[in-house]
Symmetry: C2
Subunit: 150 residues, 2 copies
């Protein structure tokens, strides 16, 4: 997957829902406020997550949005991949399988390895774990923070 | 950096120049043909590499494009970073330093770690090494190929 704004927003929604007691339904407005996602992106993000069956949409007076499955079972990679970004080979033609044997693409395996390194990190990070750490006080300096998933 | 089409193209040019004897000047047409970069992107790619002083542009009858420095000293990361892509935090707001302490961004360090994993691979891959392997016969199946930079 590609690191994108859409993936960022989708992950925010998932983590926020995962910080709440299981089964909690959250209104659209509350979710928008908590995640600070620009309003013109917000409907799209929810739509994508609902279509991917990562969140459940409950209608009616007591309705709202909730996680559709346990957060520990959902990786950041899974959420990111569902965020409707074109496949990476659209961005990097040299990553496409057909490029492997092309004279203009000796870097084919480098791009693939870079992509694999990126996805491995996102695969290892579960929404559940991140939500568990969301309540802890955090500092503005990332280099002073111990990586919580180690 | 982001994996992009622009980075792919810039790396292709650098590798092709690196496969040639030091100091060789290549015409624009030859370079375009060898790298198979779409013509509407090509001028931009050369411009970016020249501005970054990664390639030298020689005018006149015996002019052409050549590497501006030894290929072994240039990593794929360095070329990719110069390919005029907006910084990644433009794409992923949660990666920006200011996001570290925000309640909506518990994934801050995950995005950074993913980005670091990606850039490490590209940093370790030198244009010179890739050019050295470019002349070797390659197969269409990447999983049968030994990673040349190991």
């Amino acid at each position: 997957m590609q690191l994108t704004r859409a993936a960022d927003y989708a992950v925010r929604v998932m983590i926020h829902l995962a910080t709440l007691p299981l089964g909690t339904r959250v209104s659209r407005d509350t979710l928008a406020m908590a995640t600070e996602i620009p309003i013109h992106f917000f409907s799209k993000v929810l739509q994508v997550l609902a279509r991917a069956r990562l969140i459940a949409v409950h209608r009616g007076a007591s309705g709202g949005f909730a996680l559709a499955l346990p957060a520990e079972q959902v990786s950041v990679l899974r959420v990111g991949r569902r965020s409707k970004v074109p496949s990476l080979s659209t961005f990097v033609p040299c990553m496409a399988p057909v490029a492997a044997a092309k004279d203009w693409c000796p870097a084919h395996l480098v791009w693939l390895e870079a992509q694999a390194a990126l996805t491995q990190v996102l695969k290892n990070a579960s929404i559940g774990k991140l939500a568990g750490h969301a309540a802890l006080p955090r500092q503005g300096k990332p280099d002073k923070v111990v990586y919580p998933w180690n």
